[in-house]
Each structure stands twice: as structure tokens, then as C-alpha cells.
């Protein structure tokens, strides 16, 4: 199958308007004859479900949490970008487009990214109209800040919980439609499979997490808004329940998976304390505006610090290596996320890491406290300092924080065209779950923007075109395809429940995470990736022989839920490694040690790799087939990033 991204012809700035005009419309009287399934209720899912219901479609929405409000969009701290140019500082749709394409290291589509920047301004209007309490100036207008090294102030925020406030806005719109009877909400339901009839998605199979009932649901189209797959690394900043299952099942039913190896590792997270660690906590990267990153100059000093023979506050200035300031004098501590992360890893690999585990570097506010005073630092970062102290029992006003990178976001995901349709007709993918807008690296405050852009302002238009084409005839839930899909889900559940080995599912997950982090994390090599592939295969085979899953199907069974998700991660992990192996260049968050500049920066190979890698599933334990979508750049000039 040849990939057709369906990017409209014509000048960049007119593509979306032209496309919207060319899309077919569904007659208002016919809309109520259609049913749309939305899986996931984060920013993308909740906004899509609400907006489609407002148009008149019947929506069935599903989430695994006990309430749609708990989707992990809620945890985003920093903010949301929009090209409002309220600050009169030179921002524009084109600049946001350019920054996003460049930030993604030229591995995203121009057309998609431009549309994202274009609709960003509508998102802020929409959220304010819903009553989202963004930060404001004394004059009553919205406040902005510069975020993630951006040279303009385009980030809108709601203290440190922008994600929660935006999600509550989308959730309120969703609730309104639930109240009106246009959305039927299914909480504590997990999507187990996609149902296809004659090649088109016509429904899903779900498991009721409380009763265990396996149910089928029919619809005219299915939207997957199921988030990222960062938990393949076991430890990440994702919520415990975040998983790849819905996307992976869709992949196995014919949806190509694009750029799976593109993962983002966030530099300022609280380090791991031991094997009991279940997740990692991110602290906003705004900390790097005033904090200075350093490590002891020598391995000997690091060892003394680790053993407690030396106190960090007693370490002389001469014995400290402010490595980001030293290596990147122009950007210093504000280098992009991937650069900051990789440098911290290098320090730890050299044996200069700190903390009991030796897997951390310092983030020091002593200079900022001296310059601004403790009160000013508290006003800026008080909530983050409190959180840090709560978790580590160390006072960051008195001694430097310890930080280490953690997996945070996945740029890869299901391949979608300009309409957000996957390679399966009628199956759409929105938000972090798709691959479309961030290329090889996502800029800060752009995840919230993309989720809401897809849900509020893209899918309501593009879905109509498909629905108008297929017509409103009801989907037959009695079709054999539903029965078949249900049976395969029941078989799989029974297979999982039959596993009565000696190793817990968590142990497998942790091992997989170690492999992924070690060989497919911040720095990747051909040798390491080949090794990882073998290790993952072995682990997966062992899982199906030796894992232990407790309980039965007909009950609330978290052990079974987790087993299904980890089983899918064990398959995804191998595909990520394949993708990383295939992409011999470095770009954005994907760093192949074999491909770097003399300065140690990611070295792209635009002649050979300026494409999105879309993988086609061919069967269990079969090699996936690579399809390339060549990326065409007509409006930006590809350049090498440098932060010296």
C-alpha cells in the first residue's frame, strides 16, 4: 500500500482553508444517524467527543479510568502554546510553525504543523469561553511566558497545572453532551480490539474492568485518542495505567505504526531511589531558567559524595563542573531537552553521577538565591521545591536538587494522513497516540496544543468527509466480524489467565524497561540495538511461558489488566528497536552514537532519512515491513542545530 498523506496542494498558508472547503459535509438532519466511537478521554478524546456530539453525531466514549477527568493530560504542568502574539513580541502563525518544524529536527510534515499553528489561536479562545482559569495580568488580560527556550512569549498557563485546567474544560464540554444524551460514557472500560468489516473500522471490543464482560460496540468510525507509549520503559513520567494496547491492537489490524523510536526524554526529573520505584516525577523545565546544572569534576569526588564522606555544600567551587555552561556557552543551562538529557547521561556514564545510586546530577539554586533572594526563588518555583522536598526529604533551598532524565513523551504513534485517518479506513488517531506533528522532538507546551487542535478543530471537519462518503446506514452489530473479534479477545484473556508461572508481570515489565532504557534510550548504537532485539524476543517468549497472572476474568482484576498491557509492550519494544536500527541517522530525540557532529550533536542524514518510517504488521513474530513517507520541505530550509 502506498502511503498518501493527502496534504492539499497550494501555498502553505492556504492549505487548511482550501481543504476545509473541499471536504464533504454531512447533512444536519443526517448527523444523528451516525455513531462515532472515541477511545480515550484526555485532551484529544474529550475535545473530540464533545465537539462531534455538539455537531449532532451520537458518540460513545470510553476510558480505562474511573472518570474521564483522570486521563493523563491532567498532569501536564507548563503550559500551552498559541500564536496569539498578545505580547507584541514578533510571534506569528508562521513563527510557531517554523519553531515546531525546526524543534522537531525536520522530521514532521509542513502541512500538518502549519495547520497546528493556525488553529492554536482558536484553542485559547475556546478554553477561555469554557471558563478555564488561565493566568492573568492585573489589567485582566491573559498572561504569557516564554517556555522551553522559545524566543517569544506564547505560552498560556494556569499555574503549574495547565493540563488539569484544560482537561477540566474539555471534560465540562463532554459532560454537557453526556447530560444532553449525545455522548454515552463508558468508564473503566478498556479497548481490546478494533473490528473491521470489508477493510473499514466499524467498531471495537471492550472489556468492562469491573465485571470482566467482553462487549462489542458498533459505529461508523472509531477514533483512538489513547495517548503515548512511554511506559514501555517501565519507569516514565506517564501515569501507571498509560499503555499502548489500543494503538497496538489497531496496528495489528492494519494501521501502520510510524516512527516508534522517537521518544522524548525530559532532563529535569526526580531520580530513581530503588527497585521499588514505580514511576518518575517530572519537574517543570522552567527550573533551568535559574538553576545551574553541575557534577563533581572528578570520579573520586563523586564517590565521596555518594558514600556521604563529603557534603555537597562543602564541595569547593573549583571542584564543580557546570558542564552545560562549559560546553554550550551561548545557551548554557537552557539547551534543548535532548541535549541536556544526553549530557547528564554522559556524566553518569563517566562515573561522576551523584546521589546514593550515582545516577543523578545536581541542579543548583544557590546562585539564584544569592542573586534574587530566597523569597523571589520561592515565588517562582515554590510548588516545585515543595514537591521535590516531599519526595526526596531534601531541602532544595539549602542544597542542590538531584535530577536525572526520564522518559516523558512519545512522538511516534499510529501513522495518520492529513485527515488524521490511519491506514485503516474509518479508523482515526488523535493526540499523542498519532505521530503527526512533532517530528523527532516535541517542543515544550506543544502537547496540549496538539491534543486540543486535533479534537476541537481538525477531526470535526475531516471526519465529516468520511462519514458523508460512507452514508448513514446502520452498522450491523450481528456481523460475523464482531463475533470473531470478540472471540479472539476472549481467547487472549483466557490465555493470559492460564499463565501460572513463577515471575510476576511487573518483573517482566521492569526487565523490558531496563532493556529499552539501556539500548533504546538516550543514546543508541547498532550493536546495542541488535542485542536488545534478541533480549526482548527472549523475554517475550519467557513471558508467555513463565508469567503469573492471578484471579479470573469475571471480576475487577488489575493483575489481568496489567498482563495484557505488558504483553503488548513486549511486542512494541521490538518494533521500536527495529525502527531505531533502521534509522542510522541521529535526529531530535533519536541519537545514534554513530551519527554525530564533531561537537557531539545529533547529525541528520537528510539525503537518506528525510522520511517518516511507517511499519506494517505482518503477523506474530514476523518482521514488520517498512513503508516510507518522504517528507517534502518547500517552506523551510533544513539546517543543523547548534547550541554552542
Amino acid at each position: 500500500m502506498k502511503l498518501d498523506a493527502k496534504i492539499p496542494e497550494g501555498p502553505l498558508a492556504g492549505k487548511w482553508s482550501k481543504h476545509k472547503f473541499n471536504l464533504k459535509l454531512v447533512n444536519p438532519a443526517n448527523k444523528r444517524k451516525y455513531t462515532v466511537i472515541v477511545v480515550g478521554t484526555g485532551l484529544a478524546g474529550a475535545s473530540a467527543a464533545a465537539s462531534l456530539a455538539e455537531l449532532g453525531y451520537n458518540v460513545k466514549a470510553f476510558c480505562y479510568q474511573d472518570s474521564p477527568r483522570r486521563a493523563h493530560s491532567i498532569a501536564a504542568q507548563g503550559g500551552i502554546n498559541a500564536a496569539k502574539n498578545y505580547q507584541n513580541d514578533g510571534d506569528s502563525v508562521h513563527r510557531l510553525f517554523y519553531d515546531t518544524i525546526k524543534g522537531g529536527d525536520y522530521r514532521a510534515r509542513e502541512g500538518n504543523v502549519y495547520r497546528l499553528a493556525e488553529v492554536s489561536v482558536n484553542i485559547i479562545d475556546q478554553c477561555v469561553a469554557q471558563g478555564v482559569p488561565f493566568a492573568r495580568e492585573y489589567g485582566g488580560l491573559l498572561d504569557n511566558r516564554s517556555f522551553g527556550g522559545s524566543q517569544v512569549s506564547r505560552t498560556f498557563y494556569a499555574r503549574g497545572q495547565t493540563g488539569q485546567q484544560l482537561l477540566l474544560g474539555a471534560y465540562s464540554a463532554l459532560n454537557r453532551q453526556i447530560n444532553l444524551g449525545k455522548v454515552k460514557m463508558f468508564t473503566r472500560h478498556e479497548m481490546m480490539d478494533v473490528v473491521k468489516i470489508e477493510g473499514e473500522a466499524k467498531g471495537i471490543v471492550t472489556r468492562d474492568l469491573i465485571t470482566g464482560e467482553i462487549e462489542t460496540h458498533a459505529a461508523h468510525a472509531v477514533l483512538l485518542c489513547t495517548g503515548g507509549y512511554g511506559n514501555v520503559f517501565y519507569l516514565s513520567t506517564n501515569a501507571m495505567g498509560c499503555n499502548v494496547t489500543a494503538a497496538w491492537k489497531a496496528h495489528k489490524r492494519g494501521a501502520y505504526f510510524a516512527n516508534p523510536c522517537f521518544t522524548q526524554i525530559h532532563p529535569t526529573c526526580i531520580p530513581v531511589t530503588g527497585d521499588h520505584q514505580s514511576k518518575l516525577t517530572l519537574m517543570s523545565e522552567s527550573l533551568r531558567n535559574d538553576g545551574r546544572v553541575w557534577a563533581p569534576k572528578t570520579v573520586e569526588l563523586a564517590q565521596k559524595l555518594r558514600k556521604g564522606e563529603l557534603k555537597v555544600t562543602d564541595l569547593k567551587e573549583d571542584d564543580r563542573d557546570y558542564f552545560l555552561e562549559r560546553k554550550y556557552p551561548a545557551f548554557g543551562n537552557l539547551v534543548p531537552r535532548d541535549v541536556a538529557s544526553r549530557n547528564a547521561k554522559e556524566i553518569v556514564d563517566e562515573g561522576r553521577g551523584v546521589g546514593a545510586s550515582g545516577i543523578a546530577v545536581y541542579l543548583d539554586f544557590a546562585e539564584a538565591i544569592g542573586r534574587l533572594g530566597e523569597d523571589a526563588v520561592r515565588a517562582r518555583y515554590g510548588n516545585l521545591f515543595d514537591m521535590y522536598q516531599q519526595i526526596t526529604d531534601e531541602n532544595p533551598y539549602k542544597q542542590p536538587m538531584r535530577i536525572y532524565p526520564a522518559v516523558h513523551y512519545t512522538m511516534g504513534g499510529l501513522w495518520v494522513d492529513y485527515n488524521l485517518q490511519t491506514t485503516v479506513k474509518g479508523l482515526y488517531c488523535l493526540g499523542e497516540a498519532n505521530f503527526s506533528d512533532h517530528g523527532a522532538n516535541r517542543l515544550g507546551a506543544s502537547a496540549l496544543m496538539q491534543g486540543l487542535a486535533d479534537g476541537y478543530f481538525v477531526i470535526p471537519y475531516t471526519l465529516g468527509d468520511y462519514l458523508a462518503t460512507i452514508g448513514p446506514d446502520a452498522v450491523d452489530i450481528k456481523h460475523i466480524a464482531f463475533e470473531d473479534a470478540k472471540k479472539s479477545v476472549v481467547d487472549r484473556v483466557n490465555h493470559l489467565l492460564s499463565l501460572k508461572g513463577t515471575k510476576t508481570v511487573n518483573e517482566y515489565h521492569r526487565e523490558l524497561g531496563h532493556i529499552m532504557w539501556e539500548y533504546c534510550g538516550m543514546a543508541r548504537t547498532e550493536e546495542g540495538l541488535i542485542k536488545a532485539k534478541g533480549m526482548i524476543r527472549e523475554l517475550r517468549e519467557d513471558f508467555w511461558k513463565n508469567a503469573m497472572v492471578s484471579g479470573t476474568n469475571n471480576e475487577f482484576n488489575q493483575s489481568l489488566e496489567n498482563a495484557g498491557r505488558v504483553a503488548d509492550f513486549l511486542e512494541l519494544g521490538e518494533l521500536m528497536v527495529d525502527d531505531a536500527l533502521n534509522r542510522k541517522e541521529s535526529c531530535g530525540g533519536h541519537f545514534r552514537l554513530e551519527s554525530q557532529t564533531e561537537e557531539g550533536e545529533a547529525l541528520r542524514d537528510d539525503d537518506n532519512y528525510a522520511y517518516a518510517a511507517a511499519w506494517e504488521y505482518k503477523g506474530d513474530n514476523q518482521a514488520e515491513v517498512l513503508h516510507k513517507e518522504e517528507l517534502v520541505f518547500e517552506n523551510v530550509k533544513l539546517s543543523q542545530r547548534s547550541y554552542k
Binding site: A50, S51, E54, Q65, D66, S67, P68, R69, R70, H72, I74, A75, K84, N122, D125, Q126, C127, V128, A129, Q130, G131, P133, F134, A135, R136, Y138, G139, G140, L141, L142, A158, R159, Q164, Q165, S172, A173, N175, R176, I178, N179, T187, I210, T237, A239, M240, T273, G274, H276, S278, K279, M387, Q390, I391, D393, Y456, T502, T504, S550, G551, F556
Partner: protein, 251 residues
């Protein structure tokens, strides 16, 4: 450190529950409370026993999923945090820790420590929104809002919907939760057109769900992990009374 846990175990909503005692040994002070339970659950799984079920997700204090009643207090002994942010250094060696689910008629137990909090969603669906469709809204800066008002609305909006206020209240009243939601929109200009309709609809749903009445003990405020103020309750009561005084068509 070594701890004795007394954990509420209940197979499902239809079965009677009971406390079961477990030993949690070699607990690291750096563990979070939920990580301590993870380790206990790994042991139970290995022994072939059913692990303890509890709700949790983000583990960074914002999703509102975690919901344990620890030694008689929602989210445990510390102020202003959720259970997932509670760390084991708060406890001492040989402590006994009693862990229960939220106790409220409107929050039936699903299994062990997990309860059904969909009543909160239904209250929200009854009126916790501004009726605007996607698109066709004014420019964001066309609605100036004084900073103090915006900040106050934000304070109300920080509610994470965990239900600790209900669990803390001897009447299992949901007034803090509902009033925080009502207040956020009642304070903002966007919420004015539906202000009185909203408060009535949400209070009616709250009553229908079987939550108790408010008797102003303030336990909700004391236990709220986001430290939401009972000023919100006063605000909601005022709006509710006002709504009752004005004509139906104006409300």
C-alpha cells in the same frame, strides 16, 4: 522498617468485607505509600493470593484517582497531599497502619480499597459547564477578568475530584466538591448566564446521589489534598438561596 498493615479486603460490592493483617517488611523510607503496597502485592501475587486492589494512576498528586483512608484520615496523616505523595518516612518502625476505602453510601466499594465515584461525574454533568459549542467564541482577550477574581476562580478549580472531602465528613457530604465547581464558574464572567440554573441543577443531583448534608464541621477543608476552602460552600449556599428567590425564568 517493618510495618503491620490492616487492610480492608472485600471481594466485590455484594460481599461483606473484613480487615486482613499483612506484614510489610524491609520498607524503605524513600518509598511512596503506594509503592509500599506494590511490594506487598508482588508478594501476595507470588504466593498465589489476590493482590490488594486500589485506585491510582498519575502518582504525582493531580489525577485524583488514589483514595485511601489511612489510620482514620483520607490520604493519610499529612496535610495537603494525596496518598500517592505520602512517603513511608512518615511512619515509624513497627507501626500498625490501618487502610480502608472511602466510606460513603454514595461511593460504594467496588473491590477492596477501590470505590465507585461516578456520582461526582453525574453531578458535573448536571450543570458543571458553560454551554458553549466549539468554535464561534469571542477572542480570549475580549473577556477581561480582574486578576484577583481569576486567581480565586483558579483556587476553586484546583479540586482534583478525589472525594477526600466526602470521606472526611461524618455526614458524607459532598458540599466542598460541589461548591468548588460551582464557585469556579460563578466567579467568572463566562459562568454568569447559567449561574443560578447551574447551582440548582448540581445541588439537586448531589442530593439525588445520596450524599449527606453539611453541618459545617470543616473536616472536608482540613483533609482536602488541594486545601480548598469552605468559603466555597458559603458562596454556593448564597447562590443557591438567591436562585430560590428569583423567578424560574430568570434562574
Amino acid at each position: 522498617m517493618n510495618l503491620t498493615l490492616k487492610v480492608w479486603r472485600q471481594k466485590n460490592a455484594d460481599t461483606k468485607g473484613k480487615f486482613v493483617t499483612y506484614q510489610a517488611d524491609h520498607v524503605s523510607p524513600d518509598m511512596s505509600f503506594l509503592e509500599m503496597l506494590d511490594v506487598v502485592n508482588e508478594d501476595l501475587t507470588k504466593k498465589g493470593d489476590d493482590p490488594i486492589h486500589f485506585d491510582h494512576d498519575c502518582r504525582e498528586g493531580i489525577c485524583g484517582a488514589c483514595s485511601l483512608h489511612i489510620n482514620g484520615r483520607p490520604h493519610g496523616p499529612k496535610q495537603g497531599i494525596t496518598t500517592c505523595q505520602l512517603h513511608m518516612r512518615t511512619f515509624k518502625d513497627n507501626d500498625t497502619v490501618v487502610i480502608e476505602p472511602w466510606r460513603a453510601e454514595a461511593f460504594p466499594v467496588i473491590k477492596d480499597l477501590a470505590v465507585d465515584r461516578r456520582a461526582f461525574d453525574r453531578i458535573q454533568a448536571a450543570g458543571g459547564f458553560v454551554s458553549v459549542n466549539t468554535g464561534g467564541v469571542p477572542d480570549a482577550n475580549a473577556i477581561p477578568i480582574p486578576k484577583v477574581i481569576a486567581d480565586e476562580a483558579f483556587n476553586s478549580a484546583t479540586c482534583i475530584g478525589c472525594g477526600a472531602c466526602v470521606a472526611a465528613c461524618k455526614n458524607a457530604s459532598a458540599m466542598l466538591f460541589v461548591s468548588a465547581k460551582v464557585s469556579q464558574l460563578a466567579l467568572l464572567p463566562q459562568g454568569q448566564p447559567e449561574r443560578y440554573r447551574r447551582v440548582q441543577a448540581m445541588v439537586a443531583q448531589m442530593d439525588a446521589e445520596g450524599f449527606g448534608s453539611c453541618t459545617n464541621t470543616g473536616a472536608c477543608e482540613a483533609e482536602c489534598p488541594k486545601e480548598i476552602s469552605i468559603t466555597n460552600i458559603a458562596r454556593m449556599n448564597r447562590d443557591y438561596l438567591t436562585a430560590k428567590l428569583i423567578k424560574q425564568e430568570e434562574a
